[in-house]
C-alpha cells in the first residue's frame, strides 16, 4: 500500500508534495508521485492525400513514429524532471521511500488501474486547466473524489502544518468510515479536532459518546460543537472560525435525488473551503 500523490505544473504541486510527506510520516507508508500526461495528437507533418508508394502504409507509419518519437521524447523528459523535483521536495520533508511514475493517460485511468495498492490519494484542488478560476472546482478532482474507494485528500494551494481539524459529522455511513480510518491509521494523533454537528442538539444525527471515545483512543483531542444553518456553509465557516488546516468529511453521501435538487454538500465544501479537505468513503 502507498500514498499516491498526483502532481502537475499548477501552483498546487508543491502543496500536494508537502501534504503527501505529512501523510506519509503519519501513516508510515511510501509515497508514489504520479504525473499524468497526454501526448498531443499526432499532427500531420505534410499533406499525405493521394499518397501512393510501394509499402506506403509501412513507410508512412515509420515516418510518423519518427516524428512523434522526437516530439514526445521531450515531453517525457520534462515530465521526469517535474517528478524529480517533486521527489526532492518530499525527500526534503524526511520521507525516504519515494517513487516516481509518469503516466500516459488520465488520472482517472491511473486510479482505476492501481486501486489495489492505493491507501490514500492526494490531489490538488485545481489542476493546470482550472487553476486560474478560483471559483471552480477542478473536474478531475470531482471525478477522483466520486470514483475513489479510499480517502482522498484535496490539497489547498499552500500547505500549512496541520494542527486543528474540523470533522464534519452528519451521522452518515461515510463519515463513520472517516472516523474509523482516522482512528485506525493514527493520521490525526496529537491533533486538536472539533467534531462538528450541524443541527439541533439531541437530534438523531448527533455523534454519540462512542465516536468521541474512538477518536480520543487514537490520540486525538476532541471538542464537540453544534451549529445550525446550511450544512456546507456552516462547515466552511466553522473551519474559518477555528482557523483549521483540514476538514474531514464523508463523500457525496446524499441521495441522488437530493443531489440533483440542492447540489452536493461535499462538492460545495470542496469548492468554497480555503483549507484542505479529506474525503472518505
Amino acid at each position: 500500500m502507498r500514498i499516491v500523490a498526483y502532481i502537475d505544473r499548477s501552483e498546487y504541486a508543491l502543496s500536494v508534495c508537502r501534504h503527501a510527506a505529512w501523510a506519509a510520516t503519519k501513516l508510515q507508508l511510501p509515497v508514489a508521485l504520479v504525473h499524468a500526461i497526454q501526448h498531443p495528437a499526432s499532427e500531420e507533418g505534410r499533406d499525405l492525400s493521394g499518397y501512393f508508394a510501394i509499402d506506403a502504409p509501412e513507410t508512412v507509419l515509420e515516418d510518423r513514429v519518427e516524428h512523434d518519437e522526437i516530439r514526445n521524447r521531450v515531453i517525457l523528459e520534462d515530465g521526469h524532471r517535474l517528478l524529480d523535483s517533486a521527489a526532492n521536495t518530499v525527500r526534503g520533508e524526511g520521507v525516504t521511500d519515494v517513487s516516481e511514475r509518469l503516466f500516459q493517460g488520465t488520472i482517472a485511468d491511473h486510479l482505476k488501474q492501481h486501486q489495489a495498492e492505493t491507501a490514500m490519494v492526494i490531489v490538488g484542488k485545481r489542476g493546470e486547466a482550472t487553476a486560474r478560476d478560483p471559483n471552480r472546482l477542478g473536474s478531475t478532482v470531482e471525478g477522483v473524489v466520486r470514483s475513489a474507494h479510499f480517502p482522498v485528500m484535496v490539497a489547498a494551494a499552500t500547505f500549512e502544518p496541520i494542527e486543528r481539524v474540523v470533522i464534519a459529522w452528519d451521522g452518515g455511513r461515510n463519515v463513520a468510515e472517516a472516523v474509523g480510518f482516522i482512528s485506525t491509521s493514527g493520521l490525526l494523533s496529537g491533533i486538536e479536532a472539533t467534531l462538528l454537528h450541524v443541527g439541533e442538539r439531541g437530534d438523531r444525527s448527533e455523534p454519540g459518546a462512542a465516536v468521541i471515545h474512538q477518536l480520543e483512543a487514537s490520540g486525538v483531542s476532541v471538542a464537540l460543537d453544534h451549529r445550525s444553518g446550511r450544512v456546507a456553509e456552516t462547515i466552511v465557516q466553522s473551519a474559518t472560525d477555528l482557523s483549521a488546516q483540514l476538514i474531514v468529511m464523508g463523500a457525496f453521501s446524499q441521495s441522488r435525488i437530493r443531489h440533483l435538487v440542492s447540489g452536493s454538500t461535499t462538492r460545495e465544501v470542496l469548492r468554497v473551503a480555503a483549507c484542505s479537505v479529506l474525503v472518505t468513503h
Binding site: 504525473h35 500526461i37 501526448h39 499526432s42 493521394g50 499518397y51 501512393f52 508508394a53 510501394i54 509499402d55 509501412e58 513507410t59 508512412v60 507509419l61 515509420e62 515516418d63 510518423r64 513514429v65 519518427e66 512523434d68 518519437e69 522526437i70 516530439r71 514526445n72 521524447r73 521531450v74 515531453i75 517525457l76 523528459e77 515530465g79 521526469h80 517528478l83 524529480d84 521527489a87 519515494v98 517513487s99 516516481e100 511514475r101 509518469l102 503516466f103 500516459q104 493517460g105 485511468d109 491511473h110 488501474q113
Partner: protein, 493 residues
C-alpha cells in the same frame, strides 16, 4: 536387404508361419466377402483383392508378418464410386491409389505419420468400427425373422467358443455351423450367392475399360486421394501395433510403396483397393506368424479354398456374415477410450470425438483424420502458448522499466505478449530482456515490432537485450523496427 526381403524374413520361421497363414486365410474369407458387400461389389472382387494384396505385400511390404487384404475402411470409401460409375472405375481407382501410395513411399511421407496423434488414431479406429456396424444395418431391415436368431446364434458362437478352444478361428466356426444349419433346414435367408458372383477360376489380368482422359481423372481423384491416405494411415498404424507386439522394427517407407504396388497389381487383376488389417495381423502374430511366408501362405491358401470350395461359399447365409462383421466392429472399437474420456485431458478427448464425429457425418475416414490432426495442432499451439511469462521491474525514479520475457512467443501467444506491456507508463527507456524467450515465427517478430514502435512513438527509447541465437536470426531477417533505412524511401507524390 534385397528387394523381396532377407532370408530370415522368409524362412526364419517356416512351420509356424505356414500354420498361422492357414488360420488367417480361413478368417479372411468371411471378411473379404463382407467388405465386398459393403462396397457394393460381387464377393469375388474382395476375394481376388485379398488374395492379390496378401501375395504382393508378402514380397513388397516393409513389415513382415503383417496381413493386408480388402478392408472395411477402404470399402467404405468406394461405395459411391461403385454406385455412380461402376466396377471398371473401381479397378482404375485401385490402380491410381496404388500409384499415389508408391509416390508417397518414395517421397518418404510416412514421416508425416508423426502428426497423427494417439487421440486421432483412437478416433479413427472408433469411427471405423461405427461405420462397419452401420453398414450391417441394411442386412437387418426388412429381412425374414429367422435372420435375427441366426445373427444372435452367430455372435454367441464367436464369443463363447474361444473360451473352450482356440484351435479354429471362431468366426470360421460360426460360418461353418450356420451354413450347415441353413442348408440342412433349407432356411429362408439370403446367401452369399444372392449378393453376386463368386470366383470360379484364378484371377486374370485386365485393363480397366474406361476412357483414359482428364475427365476420368477428375471423377477418380476425389475417391483416390482419401483411399491412398486412409490405406497408408491404417497400414502404418497397424505396422506400429505389430512392431510393438513383436518388439521388432519395420520399414515404414517400404511399407508405403509396398501397399502401393499391391494395389496397382490388384487393380489389374480385378480387385478392390485394400490395406493392412489390424484384426487379421494380430491373429497372425498371435498364431505364431512372424515372417513374410505367413502372409504369402494366407493369400495363396485363401485362393485355393475359394476355388475349391466355391459352391459351399455361395451357400453361406448372410446372417452369419453379419454376425462376423458385428464382431469385427465391436472388436475394432476402442472401448477403453470411453472410460478414458473422464481421465484424459479434455483437448485429447475433443480431438478423438471430433475425429469420430466428422467420419460418421461424412463417411470419409480421411476427413476425420484431417480434422483430428488440425485440432491437435491447434490445441498443442494453444498449450505451448501458455508457456509464456513476463515479469518486470522499474527504477524508483520511474524512468527505466525492464521487462523479462520467458517462454515461447509465436502466433498463439503474441496477443498475451503485447498485452504484457504497459504502454501508459511514461518511461524514458524500456528494456526488453529476451534472454529466456524463443521467437518462432513472423507473428512473434511483428508483435515485437508493434511493441517497439508503440513505445518509440511515445518517446520512450527501447533497448532489446539477450536475444538468443534462434530468435536473433529471425529478427535480423524479418523485423523492421531496427532498420533505419526503411524510412529513407518515402517518395513524394
Amino acid at each position: 536387404m534385397t528387394i523381396v526381403g532377407t532370408r530370415a524374413d522368409w524362412f526364419g520361421n517356416i512351420r509356424a508361419d505356414v500354420l498361422a497363414g492357414t488360420v488367417v486365410a480361413l478368417a479372411l474369407i468371411p471378411e473379404a466377402i463382407a467388405f465386398s458387400i459393403i462396397a457394393g461389389v460381387d464377393p469375388k472382387i474382395g476375394l481376388y483383392a485379398s488374395f492379390s494384396i496378401a501375395v504382393v505385400i508378402a514380397f513388397a511390404g516393409g513389415r513382415p508378418g503383417m496381413i493386408s487384404a480388402a478392408t472395411g475402411a477402404m470399402a467404405l470409401l468406394m461405395v459411391d464410386l461403385v454406385k455412380d460409375h461402376g466396377l471398371q472405375y473401381l479397378f482404375a481407382a485401385t490402380i491410381l491409389t496404388g500409384i499415389i501410395q508408391v509416390a508417397f513411399g518414395f517421397a518418404g511421407l510416412s514421416r508425416l505419420m508423426r502428426f497423427v496423434s494417439n487421440s486421432v488414431m483412437t478416433g479413427f479406429v472408433n469411427a471405423l468400427a461405427i461405420l462397419i456396424f452401420m453398414a450391417q444395418l441394411p442386412e437387418l431391415r426388412g429381412v425374414p425373422w429367422v435372420t435375427y436368431p441366426m445373427v444372435l446364434a452367430g455372435l454367441a458362437i464367436i464369443y463363447i467358443l474361444p473360451r473352450f478352444t482356440k484351435l479354429l478361428p471362431s468366426p470360421l466356426v460360426c460360418i461353418v455351423v450356420l451354413t450347415a444349419i441353413s442348408m440342412a433346414f433349407d432356411m429362408n435367408v439370403r446367401t452369399v450367392s444372392d449378393m453376386g458372383e463368386l470366383p470360379t477360376s484364378l484371377p486374370t489380368f485386365l485393363i480397366p475399360d474406361i476412357p483414359w482422359n482428364l475427365e476420368t481423372l477428375g471423377i477418380l481423384l476425389p475417391y483416390v486421394i482419401p483411399l491412398a491416405i486412409v490405406g497408408l494411415l491404417e497400414s502404418l498404424m497397424t505396422a506400429t501395433i505389430i512392431d510393438d507386439f513383436t518388439d521388432t522394427g519395420s520399414n515404414k517407407n517400404r511399407e508405403s510403396t509396398g501397399q502401393g504396388i499391391a494395389n496397382i497389381v490388384t487393380g489389374f487383376f480385378g480387385g478392390m483397393a485394400g490395406c493392412a488389417m489390424i484384426g487379421q495381423s494380430v491373429i497372425n502374430v498371435k498364431s505364431g506368424g512372424r515372417g513374410r511366408l505367413s502372409t504369402l501362405t494366407a493369400g495363396v491358401f485363401l485362393l485355393i479354398l475359394i476355388v475349391v470350395l466355391g459352391d459351399l461359399v455361395g451357400k453361406m447365409p448372410m446372417p452369419a456374415l453379419v454376425a462376423v462383421m458385428i464382431m469385427v466392429s465391436i472388436g475394432t472399437f476402442s472401448w477403453r477410450s470411453i472410460a478414458n474420456l473422464r481421465v484424459y485431458p479434455k483437448t485429447s478427448s475433443v480431438v478423438m470425438l471430433a475425429t469420430v464425429a466428422v467420419v460418421v457425418a461424412t463417411h470419409n475416414l480421411a476427413y476425420g483424420v484431417l480434422v483430428g490432426v488440425l485440432l491437435s495442432g491447434i490445441f498443442f499451439a494453444w498449450k505451448i502458448g501458455q508457456l509464456f511469462q513476463v515479469t518486470s521491474s522499474i527504477t524508483d525514479d520511474g524512468r527505466i522499466r525492464t521487462y523479462v520475457i520467458s517462454g515461447q512467443v509465436f502466433f498463439a501467444s503474441t496477443q498475451s505478449f503485447v498485452a504484457a506491456f504497459d504502454f501508459q507508463e511514461g518511461l524514458e527507456t524500456v528494456v526488453i530482456d529476451l534472454t529466456r524467450a524463443h521467437f518462432w515465427d513472423i507473428s512473434a517478430v511483428s508483435a515485437l515490432d508493434k511493441v517497439v514502435l508503440k513505445f518509440r512513438r511515445d518517446g520512450t527509447a527501447v533497448d532489446i537485450i539477450g536475444m538468443n541465437e534462434a530468435s536473433s536470426t529471425m529478427v535480423d531477417r524479418l523485423a523492421v523496427h531496427d532498420k533505419a533505412d526503411a524510412i529513407e524511401y518515402v517518395p513524394g507524390h
